[in-house]
């Protein structure tokens, strides 16, 4: 029974969202508000049930009333969390700054460290390739990789040369030309990303149509 109600609710909400194809209708706004409200409400419930209770309150109560010890360490996140509530009032907002600073500091440190070890250095290593690999096809790919990578960097070059020497002027001309080529590489990359996004959205559209035809109307097996 609940499954049937859920199917009908899902189908109606899907149609409400499709009403946006006509224009920004109140039906779409209703569906949008329902989705946002349900998502936030569910996230709060999950945060309390999966984070606060098992990771904070239970250890504190266990330490206080079972083990007879004061879990001082758990007071730190508790106090920091309570100070965040001071942000609701403008006069007390500054009390929440330490908590915000802690979050930003930890987040920035993790992001920078992770970007260096997980993205920048591996990608630099991946771009250092040989132009004379053993495999025949690899040389062309590596050449394209070299031209595209350096060209993408040069396309963001905004230097106006002031030197009058011929080598500098020649280098400037080469950099400009390579930058234009790199700009085409960027455009192709953006096109590929857009195409993948379009394919992804088509897949979602197919999933919604299949839901309506299979789960709701049951006209497709």
């Amino acid at each position: 029974m609940f499954d049937l109600i859920g199917v009908w609710v899902g189908a109606i909400l899907t149609l409400l969202v499709f009403s946006y194809l006509l224009r920004d209708t109140p039906l779409f706004r209703i569906a949008q508000a329902i989705f946002v409200g349900v998502a936030v409400g569910y996230a709060v419930t999950v945060a309390v049930r999966s984070v606060l209770i098992p990771l904070l309150f239970e250890p504190m109560f266990t330490g206080l009333f079972v083990n007879g010890e004061i879990p001082w360490l758990y007071f730190v996140p508790l106090i920091l969390g309570l100070l965040l509530l001071a942000k609701f009032r403008a006069e007390w907002a500054s009390l929440g700054n330490p908590s915000i600073a802690f979050l930003f500091g930890v987040g920035s440190a993790l992001a920078i460290g992770g970007a260096l070890g997980g993205a920048l250095i591996p990608q630099l290593k991946a771009s250092i390739v040989s132009l004379a690999p053993e495999l025949g096809g690899g040389a062309v790919n590596n050449l394209f990789l070299l031209i595209g990578t350096i060209g993408a960097f040069l396309s963001f070059r905004f230097i106006i040369p002031t030197g009058r020497r011929a080598p500098m002027r020649a280098l400037d001309v080469v950099a400009r030309a390579w930058g234009r080529v790199g700009r085409w590489f960027i455009l192709v990359a953006f096109g590929a990303i857009f195409a993948d996004t379009a394919v992804s959205r088509i897949s979602i559209l197919i999933g919604r149509f299949y839901y309506l035809l299979h789960d709701w109307l049951q006209v497709v097996k």
Binding site: L21, A39, Y42, A43, V46, A47, S50, V51, P54, L55, P59, V106, G107, L110, A111, G114, A115, G117, G118, A119, P122, Q123, K125, A126, A189, A192, I193, D196, T197, A198, V199, S200, I202, S203, I204, L205, I206, G207, R208, F209, Y210, Y211, L213, V220
Partner: protein
């Protein structure tokens, strides 16, 4: 004698230089003559001196001088007596002796009753005929107030202006003329001893209550007319008054009542007697309450009225006090304004504005503060106005009107041009929607193996993924992270189901978690659905859902560094990890065979690549959305293979289903996916062709 109207205080005519005030009329020339006090109320025309008069007129004047002096003394004595007894007895109760001494025309004045004039009229018509010349005899009866006034109606046209002004009706208005009386306040007052007796008597008579005078009673009953405090008339030395003026003097005594301290309507009798149009009387209140205009003067046209009478002010600015309204009196009806064509322009321009215009602003600051009607310069300069239709020739004097018309013109917003009327424009957008919908729906109703048969199984990304899972030993543990939300489940569920079913088929234990709160139930649903189709694969034994992993980068970093917390609770049974004996040996990420990241966004994949893969040293394979594939390929193409394998989108799911030999929804949807992509390519190509044709340069042009 040029008959030029001069100012009342003028002694000599300004135009011809003739003396206006005669020197030899008074009977006491031995008295030092005081400073010439202006005669109030009239602008006298130039008059020849007695010496310049013709002999016949001089003779007549001499004859009139002696009896007039007698008469003057007599009637002045009578006035004094009347002033002494006026408070105790009304004038109508005068004794018979007094009546005999007083001339008939004066007795009428003293009595003040309207019943007297009828009798006095008869006597006045007879008496002057014997003593005065014919032209003067006409004046005497006219000076007596009559109800009908027929006595002077006939010769009005023949009487000169200055005499016409001396008629009883006009003289009755002399002391009430507001501008003249107002101006009298500026003149030096004559000492009391220089006052003539007849003026003293009249002043004493004026102290009587107004109610005792029948004539004035009707005037005081006039409702709500603006009144002025009439100061006592400036006395004139008796010797300065000419004989012909002394003759008229008793007639003016009729109007002695509106003296100082009493309230009268300013200028009203004067203007009424002159038949001034009602629009000139703006500011006056009652027409019906006024006495009826004399029919004898009704023949006087507006052209005969001098200009100084036309310009009678409507509302005197001095000593204005409202008339005390008797109880129960009806408010006076408002004067109906005259038609605009009846009012001359010069007079209309003098009409005061009682109320400011609605859009008239009052300056609130600056040197012009408090003034209204200031030209709104800022409005005229700063705000744009539509230029009016300019005439071919604009009179210079009309520039003010032109400027006003510019200000009155409707404003238009220069910054925001007029928006064209909204018209529903037909576009290709609904057609594109329809084509895409048909491309998606039709393949579901037309089963075909075209797409599934053409799946490319040589994609190394998918095959590597399949090989990685296939290479896992049985009963090994894998960590599957469901990092996508319901909005991406239509795409991501296809490969998630295919991968989970492959794992279950391989009897691999699964630990699920999610870095998104909304991904946890999705994981639970997919795991339960896949486990229900397989025997001997149960929750807690073969698979486990650890739920939401909070903290994003921090949570994953802690997971990579510290591993699984024994106290961590699962999502379904809310039990700690240590209670599940099947997973007791899984404490860190090194204890799992592989990590499968199901990423619906780049952020989730990046977190795993940056926080877990470098630190944990665990093999990671990913199933990602099609939009994340470029990012996943970058991780896959690194030398150390950050991502060992990638399954991307619906096509990757279909390939995986083919590889695992389990036909599922991905293969079913692949036909619709292919049709939709083909339709999209056609629309883009057609649109570009149309754009190229419509925008190519034309040779003829």
């Amino acid at each position: 004698m040029c008959a030029t109207p001069n100012k009342v205080e003028s002694v000599f005519c300004l135009s011809c230089g003739a003396r206006l005030v005669p020197l030899t009329v008074a009977s006491a020339p031995e008295k030092p003559r005081p400073a010439a006090s202006p005669i109030k109320g009239l602008s006298l025309p130039a008059r020849e001196s007695p010496g310049e008069l013709p002999a016949e007129l001089q003779k007549l004047e001499a004859e009139l001088a002696e009896p007039e002096e007698k008469d003057t003394a007599t009637w002045l004595d009578t006035l004094r007596a009347t002033s002494a007894t006026v408070e105790s007895a009304p004038p109508a109760e005068a004794t018979a002796e007094e009546k005999e001494d007083v001339p008939d025309w004066l007795s009428v004045v003293q009595s003040g009753t309207p019943a007297q004039p009828a009798e006095a009229k008869k006597e006045a018509e007879i008496e002057p005929a014997a003593e005065m010349p014919a032209w003067l005899s006409k004046l005497r009866p006219a000076a007596i107030p009559e109800e009908s006034g027929d006595a002077i109606s006939a010769p009005v046209a023949q009487v000169p202006d200055w005499l016409r002004a001396a008629t009883p009706e006009k003289q009755a208005a002399i002391p009430e003329e507001p501008p003249l009386q107002a101006s009298s306040t500026e003149t030096p007052e004559t000492p009391v001893e220089h006052e003539p007796d007849w003026l003293t008597a009249s002043a004493s008579t004026q102290q009587e209550p107004v109610s005792k005078e029948p004539e004035l009673e009707s005037k005081t009953e006039e409702p709500a007319a603006p009144t002025i405090q009439v100061p006592p008339p400036t006395p004139v030395a008796e010797e300065e008054i000419p004989a012909w003026l002394l003759e008229l003097k008793p007639q003016s005594a009729e109007l002695r009542e509106p003296a100082g301290g009493e309230t009268v309507k300013p200028t009203e009798p004067l203007l009424e007697s002159l038949q001034v149009p009602a629009d000139l009387m703006s500011g006056q209140t009652s027409i019906s309450a006024r006495p009826a205009p004399s029919p004898s003067l009704s023949t006087i046209s507006d052209d005969d009225i001098p200009d100084w009478l036309r310009t009678a002010p409507s509302a005197p600015a001095v000593n204005v006090e409202p008339i005390q309204m008797p109880a129960g009196a009806e408010p006076p009806p408002a004067i109906q304004p005259a038609l605009p064509e009846e009012v001359p322009d010069w007079l209309a321009s003098l009409k005061p504005k009682e109320q400011p215009l609605e859009d008239e602003t009052i300056e609130s600051s600056g040197p012009l503060a408090g003034m209204r009607g200031i030209l709104p310069l800022a409005l005229a300069v700063a705000e744009p106005h539509q230029p009016p239709q300019m005439a071919s020739t604009v009179v210079k004097g009309d520039s003010g009107k032109l400027f006003e018309s510019i200000l009155a013109a409707p404003q238009f917003d220069a910054a925001h041009p007029a928006v064209a009327s909204k018209r529903r424009v037909w576009t290709m957008r609904p057609l594109i929607y329809l084509l895409m919908a048909l491309a998606v729906l039709i393949p579901f109703f037309i089963p075909s193996d075209l797409a599934s048969s053409s799946v490319d199984l040589s994609n190394p990304l998918v095959t590597n993924f399949y090989d990685t899972v296939q290479a896992l030993p049985a009963n090994s543990t894998v960590l599957v992270s469901f990092d996508y939300d319901p909005s991406q489940s239509s795409e991501m569920d296809l490969q998630a189901k295919a991968i989970v079913q492959h794992l279950i088929k391989r009897r691999i234990k699964i630990i699920a978690l999610s870095t998104l709160a909304t991904g946890v139930p999705i994981a639970q649903k997919i795991l339960d659905a896949a486990a229900s189709n397989t025997t001997n694969y149960a929750y807690g034994t073969n698979y486990l859902n650890l739920g939401y992993r909070a903290g994003y980068e921090a949570g994953l970093s802690q997971l990579a560094a510290g591993g699984f917390q024994p106290t961590a609770k699962d999502f379904s049974k809310n039990q700690s990890l240590s209670t599940f004996t099947s997973f007791a040996n899984v404490k860190t990420l090194r204890d799992v065979a592989v990590v499968i990241e199901l990423a619906g966004s780049e952020d989730a994949l990046k977190m795993w690549m940056e926080q877990v893969q470098p630190n944990a040293g665990v093999k990671i394979i990913a199933g990602v959305s099609a939009s994340v594939e470029p990012k996943a390929r970058a991780y896959h193409d690194t030398p150390n293979k950050q991502l060992a394998a990638v399954v991307s989108g619906l096509i990757g799911a279909a390939q995986y289903e083919v590889l695992t030999n389990q036909a599922g929804l991905a293969l079913t949807s692949l036909n619709a996916q292919s049709a939709a992509q083909l339709t999209l390519v056609l629309i883009i190509g057609l649109g570009n062709i149309v754009f190229w044709i419509s925008h190519r340069p034309r040779r003829n042009v």
